[in-house]
Symmetry: D2
Subunit: 364 residues, 4 copies
């Protein structure tokens, strides 16, 4: 309830920025899946703070330890895979002011109202550190999907503040293109503008948001469980559970609302591979809540980071008006580090639906 995600391929995350560590249990992974542990660590490295000068300078090794579920490098007897990352570089003092003054648009105040206890030490579970478990589990989901269906999942930064990239082709963009720069925008010229913008806003003590786009290439056909667990519905939930998200689109998204049916419909055309193809992909790879085999394309909007160094008006826990200028070491923009988080949530959603599809539809 709240810290678990998925039905058959199910993860439960734990841990906050204070305490012994953060991690995840992956339950339901099929047996005899050979796991590349370096790939899990590589995904965590893409997520970790301090990776470039446009992210928070906090340093965390974020080295993962596999506690259970593997034997000779393979998943074993349907047993849970537990992964642990120890907490290291804690400086609770950075958050001392926040203990009294609620950060505007952060989780401090709502957590207190819900749980009747004051959040401290960097926001507890509202800290981005919580996403470590998601990314580690997502790296396993990716390997499962690759083995089962040859599926590839890639996300990238499409927009930072007012700067948007228009030249990225979801059907051909590669991991190398994305990782070629620190902002993770595969359109190189735009990437440079984005980096400059983040630097400039960061220097002001301010923050910015943007849009991440994600593609699933070669998804299994038939994923999704109408009517409530349509694939796009579960993808929406998956990514909207990430910190700082404000919007979700699939395929044509909100711009599709401006088209007529005759313009928006994706005409069916024959394919070489035994499945129907479509001439366009306004559907974003999902029709009637079920994947049709075309690339799944989604976009996620992230608001600007709530914690900023600029002075803001707020209220302290005694109800008195005050001002707050955050100290600490915060990301001026979460998007570069959120790219692997989006990929992870998409992978987890698809892995779960793959097993659910097997469950209901593979007997005969």
């Amino acid at each position: 309830m709240g810290s678990s995600f998925g039905d058959l391929f199910r993860i439960s995350t734990f841990g906050e920025s204070h305490g012994g560590g953060v991690g995840v249990i992956v339950e339901g992974c099929p047996p005899r899946l050979e796991l590349d542990l370096d790939e899990i660590q590589a995904e965590l490295n893409r997520r970790k703070p301090g990776q470039s000068h446009i992210t928070t300078p906090r340093k965390e090794a974020d080295q993962v330890e596999i506690l259970s579920g593997l034997l000779d490098g393979k998943t074993t007897l349907g047993t849970p895979i537990a992964m642990l990352v120890r907490n290291k570089d804690q400086r609770p003092g950075d958050y001392s002011d926040m203990a009294v003054a609620f950060r505007p648009s952060h989780a401090d105040a709502t957590y207190q109202s819900k749980y009747g206890i004051q959040a401290r030490s960097g926001g507890g579970r509202a800290s981005a550190r919580e996403t470590i478990g998601r990314v580690a589990a997502g790296a396993i989901a990716k390997q499962l999907l690759r083995k089962a269906a040859g599926t590839e999942i890639l996300a990238w930064v499409k927009q930072i503040h007012t700067i948007e990239a228009h030249g990225i082709d979801p059907s051909t963009v590669s991991m190398n293109d994305i990782e070629a720069n620190i902002v993770r925008c595969p359109e190189a010229s735009v990437a440079n503008q984005m980096i400059e913008r983040i630097e400039a806003i960061g220097r002001e003590g301010d923050s910015c948001g943007g849009v991440i786009e994600c593609v699933v290439r070669q998804p299994a056909v038939g994923l999704g469980m109408p009517v409530f667990d349509k694939l796009e519905a579960d993808l929406a939930k998956a990514v909207m559970s990430l910190p700082a998200t404000k919007g979700f689109e699939i395929g044509s998204g909100f711009s599709g609302t401006l088209l007529k049916g005759s313009e928006h419909n994706d005409a069916f055309i024959p394919g070489d591979d035994g499945r129907l193809h479509t001439a366009t992909n306004n559907s974003g790879g999902i029709q009637g809540g079920i994947s049709n085999g075309e690339p799944i394309v989604i976009r996620v909007g992230f608001k600007p980071t709530a914690t900023i160094r600029k002075e803001q008006q707020t209220i302290d826990s005694d109800g008195n008006a005050t001002t707050l200028a955050a100290k600490g070491r915060h990301d001026p923009c979460v998007l570069p580090r959120a790219v692997p988080m989006v990929e992870a949530m998409v992978a987890l959603t698809l892995a779960d639906h793959l097993l659910r599809q097997q469950g209901q539809c593979s007997l005969w």
Copy 2:
């Protein structure tokens, strides 16, 4: 799995356009809730086809029968409330062509690929008729939320095709304003343009989409279960499970990605009622995944109806290219009838989270 929604306040829907009827079981409703049955029927009337000349001319009485769970007008011993609406005005012949030619961007093809059987008679569960169970259950959720917290949920049409209403204030708009016209846009002058646009596009044999906005006023404080079941994540899933949805926003949404943190953050101000208030509401009533008591504001994008009378290129179930011009009686625009569906899904999500909040946080 797929036809159930919610954890504690849980609904399971059943039925398709062919067969004996459609309906829903509501499980987990608190005992001793006095139910206004007329209100349930009224919500179904807002959803039903044939209600105006801009919806499908199909006529369905959609009269609901309560099969169980009530005694003397009240919910009883925690028992499931089953509701049934009989199918009446079926004309399977309307769909005879579709049995062979896949409707572009409809669920026909993906259902067949997933279940290995041909969808018929209006799309089975992909039919909008499936949403009857949601709306009936949502009407109960609304009454629960009203009694428990004085909560009010209202949705309206904000945009049809390229016509958008800009003058609606979510904090004051009323049900009367919304129901004042057949397109359910509470800005009267814009509503007329919308109706004309739908008529014009319908005459072409084409269809259009748009955007529905929804507000929750006076929500309980503290709803939402970080980290995966954040309230906005579950709202996103809820509405993205409705037919024809392509996008979801909360609060500032995608436009919030264009702001800096100092502009986007909602400053806290003292309130008269013992809870923190915010000067602005870019958060859309949810911070850190938890409702803060401010109005919850979301927007949902709907694509143009897939089934159109205009001739389209497609493929038949033998894989041959063909064309299709739908007969049948289809909505040129689903949005007017989708308004109560959005309200219902929002109400169901909040009712579930209200009980979940009670479960974890009401012992001491």
Copy 3:
């Protein structure tokens, strides 16, 4: 929550003895399963009251209507199968005294303490009438298991009050043997004694209990999900959710606690059919929580019916001491009618685990 059972093959029941009817939604059934509707009705007939002079004389037709989920006699697009049985022979007056005096060992008092409302009209959901949905859904589960693995599930009365049958061989007993007499004990001579005992006790205005045994022959190998969802654990829950149950055993059961390991262990022997066989079956077909292919054998203890005509000491809803002699029409012994209920719960458990096994272990 409470009225649903199963994860992938999931049922939700509804209805009580008052109101429009009782029924069930079956969710997650694989597509393209040909359903024998007569078989569903036949199971309901085995359960229904008034079937013989040793059951309650209440007459209910218990005719089932399939509301959804079928097309041309087959399950269709993964859609829920809803089934409804209308309520007919209601005589609320029979329960008028009980409205004030709590029946000892019945659910009246606990329901009132939990839900703050007085149970009426035969106990609401605590009525055996609730099991109609289970039996109807179980009849579908049986057909699924038969098609998928050739599985056969049979239960019978093994003990009534102090009379126990010792000559029944679970590996060969047939449905015909069981249905050969009204008490459903396949050992004919013992059956007659049982019937006489029930008649005698019934004449006293008293009631009796007993033990039902159930075998699953040719179960799929590999069902069960350690460590919490071991197959015997889920079977225990399944049958212990039936009204009036007091005990559960698998294989050697409590008598197995009297053996040494060297006596109790089932030696492995080679089989002709590619799976390991065991020389004995103290394990009852399940080892380590997983079915091994040997017959699954369980036993369920049922207490004597709580509602009796004999006068009993009790308390009324005002807290005053009083006596109660039930009127109404009650079974002196629930076991003959509980036989199909046990079979149904076992079938539902196995169907769910079959799909869960497919989900996790059928990819490669």
Copy 4:
């Protein structure tokens, strides 16, 4: 799915005898619960091997580390509590023979048939080591129940092989009585016979089973969710998921099947504390699936340990007949160490139902 238990108070266990460690995540625990960590460790000490000469001589420190979810000794913001116990005293060589010869009545063969991979190193998740997570989580559930309702949960050994204790009164037995001897039977004279019997059978290289009884004193009234999640049904599942269990009884259990209704029914009598009391407790504290406030009394049958030093007939993984005499260090009787496991599973079940009851029935 399989390694998680509970709906609102939910645990997920991980780990096997090989690998880095075993543990558990507790999700859904109410905030602001002060946790006595020594009590958690004390429960683990009652479970751990090597605690006396009648258990396996394997030595494990089983020292628990709390990784998350606590701040200043209290549960915090609804955050998961992760607990880890490192693996230490591994001797995989002890199991080398078992890698080829399937242990009769152990999980080796079924795990292999289900997952297509050979269990090794002590049975993986079928090892009793898996129960560490249950016991640690159960210790938290006990503290929650004590604070919320003053509930006390105690289990003890009632029968070992053919020796049964008849003088234990569930309403007065104390933890001190139980812990007064190494077999955990509070009837001292019988305890000595039990210890001698275990020693004698152990010397033969054989094993024995028995019965554990458990009482819940002062349970909250109203726990249980008819019709499927009746409290006794969930208790049955809970304890039948423990290794080596063969039977479950509540209240009068199987012996209750020998009584007539007039003998078995528990007459209601007035109480001093505002709730109904019963003159007898054949119901075992649960009526209609709901706790009535009387002590909940259950019994669990455990078979003799499967792994024995005596030579047994079996089959190796190539299908050839062979014999096996286990080396390793195995418990001749699991019951003394299973006492805290039974308490833990009962506590976890009640904690979950307490929160579920709050969720549905505490609004008004």
